[in-house]
C-alpha cells in the first residue's frame, strides 16, 4: 500500500520536512511506522507525546493501571480529572487530541509471556518505559527473539539510564545486566523520583525511536547513557554483546519469552501490609492493643554481612536471595515482620511470603533506616 502526505500533514510536519535528514521521504517512514510504548507512566507519557506530535503513524500504549493522584507529578498525559481512569485509554484520547491523523491503540492489559507475541506482532519497534524489572526482561527477551528494535530507559530518584537495541547491531539489555536475581531495585513509588527526570529520559527515547526509524545519526547501540539530574551530567559507557548472553548470545538458553517467577507484580507489592518503625517498637515492647501482642517473628532479609553489623534483638536472618531460591520455611501462621535496610528487599520478601500462603506477613516501612531515625538513633547499619 503506497502512502503519501496530505496537505494538512505537509503543514503539520513542515519543520520536519525542512530537515534534509527527514524530508518527505523520512516523514512517510514515520507515518508508516508502528511503535509500541510499554507503560504510560513517567517515561511513556512524554515519549508517546513526542512520537504522536512527530507523526508516528501507529502508536500502541500498553498499561493495565489507572491514573492516581501521585502520578500527576510526572505523567504529563494526564490531568486531575483523569484520576481513577484507565491509563491506556485516557492516554489514547490525549494523543488523538494532539494528532487525530494517527492510529492510537490502547492495550489496557499487563504484558505477560502469554500475550507478548501477539501484541508485539502488530509493531515494528518497542519503547520500554515500564516500572517493573520483570517486565523489562520480558520486553528485552521478546524483542531479541522476535527481532524488534527496542529503546529502553529507566529512572531512580535523580538518575536515568537509556540504551537502544537493534537486532544484530549490538548488545541487548541482558548483555548489560544479565541477571537480577538477588538484586532489589525499588521503583518510583518506593524510592521517589524527580518529576521532570522521566521527561528528559522519555524525550531521549522518542529521539532514539525517530533515529532508528529514519536510519539517521548514531543511536545508543552498544552504549548506555547515564543522566544525573543533580549534577546535570551525562555520561556514556560502551558495552559489548556478551557471547554468553542467555538470550542474544551464541548459545542462548532463553528461546521463548517467559515471566520471571522471582519478580513480584505491582499488584503483589501493593497488597503488602506495612508496619511503621514506631508501631513495631510498640509491638515488640508489648505496648500495643491486647489483640495485637502476639509474639512477632522478625525476619531480617539482608545479607549475613549486613546482619552481622547490627540487627534487632531476636531477629532471624533469612536473606532475600535464599527466600527467592528456596522459599520460606516458616509456618504459614507465623506473625512475621520482614525487614531490611531501606524497605525494598523486605517488600519483595513480604510479597513472596504472601504468595507462599503466609497469612499475615508485615513489612517494616522504611526499613532499619527508619528504625534508626524514629526509634534507635545509635542503631548500627
Amino acid at each position: 500500500m503506497s502512502i503519501s502526505l496530505s496537505a494538512a500533514e505537509q503543514q503539520r510536519y513542515s519543520r520536519h520536512l525542512l530537515l534534509a535528514e527527514i524530508g518527505p521521504a523520512g516523514q512517510l517512514k514515520l507515518k508508516a511506522a508502528r511503535v509500541l510504548v510499554i507503560g504510560a507512566g513517567g517515561l511513556g507519557c512524554p515519549a508517546a507525546l513526542y512520537l504522536a506530535a512527530g507523526g508516528i503513524g501507529t502508536i500502541g500504549l500498553l498499561d493495565f493501571d489507572q491514573v492516581e493522584e501521585s502520578n500527576l507529578q510526572r505523567q504529563v498525559l494526564f490531568t486531575t480529572a483523569d484520576i481513577g481512569a484507565p491509563k491506556a485509554k485516557r492516554a489514547r484520547e490525549r494523543l488523538l487530541a494532539l494528532n487525530p491523523q494517527l492510529q492510537i491503540v490502547a492495550h489496557q492489559t499487563e504484558l505477560t509471556a502469554a500475550n507478548v507475541q501477539q501484541i508485539f506482532a502488530g509493531y515494528d519497534l518497542v519503547v520500554d518505559g515500564s516500572d517493573r524489572i520483570g517486565t523489562r526482561y520480558l520486553v528485552n527477551d521478546a524483542c531479541v527473539i522476535y527481532r524488534k528494535p527496542l529503546v529502553s530507559a529507566a529512572i531512580h530518584r535523580f538518575e536515568g539510564q537509556a540504551m537502544s537495541y537493534a537486532p544484530g547491531r549490538g548488545p541487548c539489555y541482558r548483555c548489560l545486566f544479565p541477571d537480577l536475581s538477588g538484586a532489589v531495585l525499588p521503583n518510583c513509588s518506593q524510592a521517589g523520583v524527580l518529576g521532570v527526570l522521566p521527561g528528559v529520559l522519555g524525550a531521549i527515547q522518542a529521539t532514539e525511536v525517530m533515529k532508528l526509524l529514519l536510519g539517521i545519526g548514531e543511536p545508543l547501540l552498544g552504549r548506555v547513557l547515564v543522566y544525573d539530574a543533580l549534577t546535570l551530567r551525562f555520561d556514556e559507557f560502551r558495552i559489548s554483546r556478551r557471547p554468553d548472553c542467555a538470550v542474544c548470545g551464541e548459545h542462548p538458553s532463553i528461546l521463548a519469552p517467559a515471566d520471571e517467577p522471582g519478580f513480584c507484580s505491582v499488584e503483589e507489592q501493593r497488597r503488602v501490609v506495612g508496619i511503621s518503625a514506631v508501631e513495631l517498637a510498640q509491638r515488640i515492647r508489648g505496648a500495643g492493643a491486647a489483640a495485637d501482642t502476639a509474639p512477632l517473628t522478625l525476619v531480617d532479609v539482608r545479607d549475613p554481612e549486613e546482619f552481622t553489623v547490627g540487627h534487632l534483638p531476636r531477629a532471624v536472618n533469612i536473606p532475600l536471595t535464599l527466600i527467592e531460591q528456596q522459599g520460606l520455611s516458616l509456618p504459614r501462621e507465623t506473625p512475621a515482620v520482614f525487614l531490611c535496610r531501606s524497605g525494598a528487599r523486605s517488600l519483595k520478601a513480604c510479597a513472596l511470603a504472601r504468595r507462599a500462603g503466609m497469612t499475615m506477613p508485615l513489612q517494616l516501612e522504611g526499613g532499619l533506616l527508619a528504625w534508626r531515625e524514629a526509634v534507635e538513633p545509635g542503631f548500627a547499619l
Binding site: 507503560g39 507512566g41 513517567g42 517515561l43 511513556g44 520500554d128 518505559g129 515500564s130 516500572d131 517493573r132 524489572i133 523489562r136 530507559a153 529507566a154 529512572i155 531512580h156 530518584r157 535523580f158 538518575e159 536515568g160 539510564q161 548489560l176 545486566f177 544479565p178 541477571d179 537480577l180 536475581s181 538477588g182 538484586a183 531495585l185 525499588p186 521503583n187 518510583c188 524510592a191 523520583v193 522521566p198 548506555v224 547515564v226 544525573d228 543533580l230 549534577t231 555520561d235 559507557f237 560502551r238 558495552i239 545479607d303 554481612e305 549486613e306 553489623v309 535496610r341 531501606s342 533506616l369 547499619l381
Partner: protein, 88 residues
C-alpha cells in the same frame, strides 16, 4: 592518592546521598575496600561472596568496563558505579 567515584543512585543510601565520593587504592579491589571502610556494607551490594561483580552492577574505570577486581586504578581515573534501575 584518592580517585573520584561516581555513585549510582541506588547506592547513595550508603554515601549519605553523595553522588561523588573519594576513595583510595591502586586497584579496583582496594578502591572498593576503602569505600566499604568509609561506607560500611556498600561493597557487598556490588561484590558477591565469590568476589564477582554482581550481575546488576557494572563498574567502569576511566570509562572502560572493569571485568575483574584486579583492574588498576590511577589517581586521575574516575570510577563509575552503574546499577540497574527499574523505575519508569
Amino acid at each position: 592518592m584518592a580517585c573520584t567515584v561516581h555513585v549510582a543512585s541506588p547506592l547513595r543510601d550508603y554515601t549519605h546521598g553523595a553522588a561523588r565520593v573519594q576513595a583510595e587504592g591502586n586497584t579496583l579491589a582496594q578502591v572498593l575496600g576503602d569505600l566499604d571502610r568509609r561506607y560500611p556494607g556498600m561493597r557487598f551490594r556490588m561484590i558477591d561472596e565469590q568476589l564477582r561483580i554482581r550481575p546488576h552492577i557494572r563498574i567502569f574505570v576511566a570509562a572502560q568496563e572493569a571485568l575483574t577486581l584486579e583492574r588498576p586504578v590511577l589517581p586521575k581515573d574516575s570510577v563509575h558505579l552503574l546499577c540497574a534501575l527499574s523505575g519508569g
